[in-house]
Amino acid sequence: MLVLNRKVNESIIIDDRIEIKVLEIVDGKIKIGIEAPKDVTVLRKEVYDEIRNENAQAASISLDSFSKLKKNR
């Protein structure tokens, strides 16, 4: 992982088109501003992880659960 030091109001630029700026640091919370083209998906990592976990769970349901589905039409 690349590690950079930034102060408030300093930014980094990724791939000439995505700017990530440190806006504010209060009580250990860092407010970050992201400027990116609209086709770039920006998500909080925990939300993305939650979707991945839910998908993994949805894909591992038992055959037994599926057979109940057929009866519960």
């Binding site: 979707i51 998908n55 949805a58 894909a59 038992s62 109940k68 057929k70 519960n72």
Partner: protein, 150 residues
């Protein structure tokens, strides 16, 4: 062509029915080709089956069957990733997590699967919304019981 499926065994499909998910589905990013299969004797749920890996298989449903008021916005740029230019091309389904007790099953309203019906391309889009979660109960308690008896 014939494909192997997790829930229905070997199934004959029309190759033209295969949908491309250019970004995969979160958690299954390397698997791009999916097909929608009907479930015998059930018209509320369908199966989103990976065409290349029988183990990757999701139960999906039309969200508005269960949640009339479900609504969300998707930026045009996201729809452009699957070549959607007008709303009529768009089809929406949501992934269901079946529970061993059917009435406890949930549906992921936070991340609808959107499909371009014409081009047969799709993606799972994560909503930027605090309104929905990955686990909405499909039934209220009473409904679930009524359903199980019918």
């Amino acid at each position: 062509m014939k494909i192997k499926t997790r829930f229905l065994g070997e199934v004959e499909i029309d190759e033209k029915m295969i949908m491309d998910f250019p970004e995969g589905i979160p958690g299954f990013e390397d698997s791009r080709r999916y097909v929608l299969l009907d479930i015998p004797e059930n018209d509320v749920f369908r199966i989103l089956q990976n065409a290349d890996d029988e183990h990757i298989s999701f139960i999906v449903t039309d969200p508005w069957v269960f949640f009339e008021d479900y609504d969300f916005d998707i930026p045009d740029e996201e729809l452009a990733k699957i070549n959607i230019k007008k709303e009529e091309q768009l089809s929406v389904m949501n992934i269901v997590t079946l529970s061993d007790e059917f009435e406890n099953s949930t549906v992921n309203l936070l991340a609808p699967v959107v499909v371009n019906k014409d081009d047969r391309a799709g993606k799972q889009y994560v909503l930027n919304s605090g309104k929905y979660t990955t686990k909405h109960p499909l039934f209220t308690k009473a409904e679930g019981e009524a359903n199980a008896c019918s």
